[in-house]
């Protein structure tokens, strides 16, 4: 049976709005995949993901694990002979997947991202212990890293109470709300 490839032009346009990266410059040399430290865990290699994007295979791309397992180490973007900024593509695909309500294949990473951003929004700075507790509530993995947490606390490496400053919270709160207003405008 032949599978018809149905390119989704809207998807490519959305990606182009998000970032100005020309994926068509890619000549599939595979250098990005070869040097990717996370390639062993991905379902599509970075080069395959770029190729799937060029074919407009939106569902395949948005349902992939690949972008969620990208550690943003910038190795691929640094080494690509065609200057395709693959790491930026990974970010854009994550952003589009969330915007389109696609169920993430690696939910732990999204849970971490959300918990971290909430933490920054409320405290202005990262409050690690609060972040860990928030994460435990969201992922229900109460015992993960518990021993490590206790050792860190003993070494005085985790604060029991967050450093709070109303001025700072106001600053981050206003940045977060202005960003989401702006993004709401551009989507309309």
């Amino acid at each position: 049976m032949e599978t018809a490839i149905m390119p989704d032009a809207g998807f490519l346009k959305r990606l182009d709005n998000e970032i100005k990266v020309n994926v068509n410059a890619c000549y599939q040399c595979g250098k990005c995949s070869a040097g990717c430290p996370m390639n062993y865990a991905m379902d599509l290699t970075p080069a395959q993901l770029i190729h799937a994007i060029r074919l407009g295979l939106k569902d395949l791309v948005l349902n992939s694990k690949t972008m969620w397992l990208c550690s943003s180490c910038q190795t691929c973007s640094t080494r690509c002979p065609q200057e395709v900024d693959i790491a930026r593509v990974m970010d854009a695909v994550k952003i589009i997947a969330v915007a389109e309500g696609v169920k993430p294949q690696v939910p732990k990473v999204i849970a971490f991202n959300k918990a971290t951003l909430r933490n920054i929004k409320w405290f202005g700075r990262m409050y690690e212990l609060g972040l860990i507790c928030d994460l435990k509530l969201r992922t229900l993995e109460f015992f993960k890293d518990l021993g490590l947490g206790v050792r860190m606390l003993r070494k005085g490496k985790l604060k029991l109470v967050p450093s709070v400053s109303p001025g700072r919270t106001l600053a981050t709160m206003s940045i977060f709300s202005r960003v989401s207003n702006k993004e709401g405008q551009t989507k309309k």
Partner: protein
């Protein structure tokens, strides 16, 4: 002459990496580098921000740079390679995309000029003549062999970060993106034995420390293995995330791979501080989870250490 810099410690140096903060400040004091913490600084947003909103990932760093500019700074030092990377990307994107630049200025609500330079402590120290480093050395630490681990973000991508080259006027060649030597040279100049190896810029999975822990074990294990194979006693780092994974995950790595790693991870500023005559306590050597036995007694057994 005193060199003045705005100082952006970032969240880690106030919590999991207090020893990096303390040792950098101590070393800076000896080298006539004046650090003034940016008043009211906020988190740079790190990976979760750039994975969620491009605009947010630029607005948070620019907010901090605007605060530093308002405090009359022209150069800002950022010791965390992940924060450093976010600052460099924010400046790069603002310069290359007028629309983003205007939007960010509106969000941050200030007349940000963008003339401020962002530097890593390695770049700040690399600017000094080797003689200045050498004349500060008070203690020989010659029974320790180390490898320098730069991590993935300090040098990459070169057109955005311009590691070492970015701090120079006019711009000079800068350090090698895959095989940097800035930290190696600094440590050699203070008398530390530095070994060559091939994992200088490999990723430790830093961003996944609390989410994809298994990836961290896999990637960190490769780094520890190579360090051990070339005969290193310790790994030296210049970033709190490069420190956290290798330092805190060795027990789990040993359980998973049936290995026996017990490799101390030091900040380059801690070793510089010890060489400059500070005590292990002052350099907070005991803050590490992996036993820092080798250096705990530096300066205490005078028979083994030549002064």
């Amino acid at each position: 002459m005193t060199a003045k810099y705005a100082y952006y410690p970032g969240c880690s140096l106030h919590s999991t990496a207090v020893e990096y903060d303390a040792s950098f400040k101590a070393v800076a004091a000896k080298l006539d580098i004046e650090l003034e913490e940016v008043p009211g600084w906020v988190c740079c947003g790190t990976s979760p921000a750039h994975s969620t909103s491009h605009l947010l990932s630029i607005a948070l760093p620019i907010k901090n740079l605007a605060l530093a500019e308002a405090a009359k700074a022209t150069q800002m030092v950022v010791p965390c390679a992940a924060c450093y990377s976010r600052f460099k990307f924010a400046l790069y994107d603002m310069h290359h995309d007028q629309k983003i630049g205007d939007e960010v200025k509106e969000i941050v609500g200030s007349s940000f000029q963008g003339n401020i330079k962002v530097l890593h402590p390695l770049e700040v120290i690399a600017k000094l003549p080797a003689a200045v480093l050498k004349e500060n050395v008070k203690r020989q630490i010659d029974d320790l062999k180390v490898v320098c681990y730069y991590g993935c973000l300090l040098t990459r991508p070169p057109k955005v970060v311009r590691f070492v080259a970015g701090g120079q006027t006019p711009p000079e060649a800068g350090d090698d993106v895959e095989y940097p030597t800035t930290m190696d040279k600094i440590l050699e100049n203070v008398g530390i034995n530095v070994l060559d190896w091939s994992y200088k810029t490999d990723c430790c999975g830093g961003a996944f420390a609390l989410s994809e822990t298994d990836a961290v074990l896999t990637l960190t294990q490769r780094i520890l293995k190579n360090a051990l194979e070339v005969g290193a006693d310790a790994i030296v780092v210049a970033c709190p995330l490069c420190h956290a994974n290798p330092d805190t995950r060795q027990a789990e790595i040993n359980a998973k791979y049936n290995t026996n790693y017990n490799m101390p991870i030091y900040y380059f500023t801690q070793l510089m501080g010890l060489a400059f005559g500070y005590s292990p306590e002052e350099m907070l050597i005991n803050k590490h989870l992996t036993e820092p036995a080798l250096l705990r007694n530096v300066g205490k057994e005078q028979s083994r250490m030549s002064w």
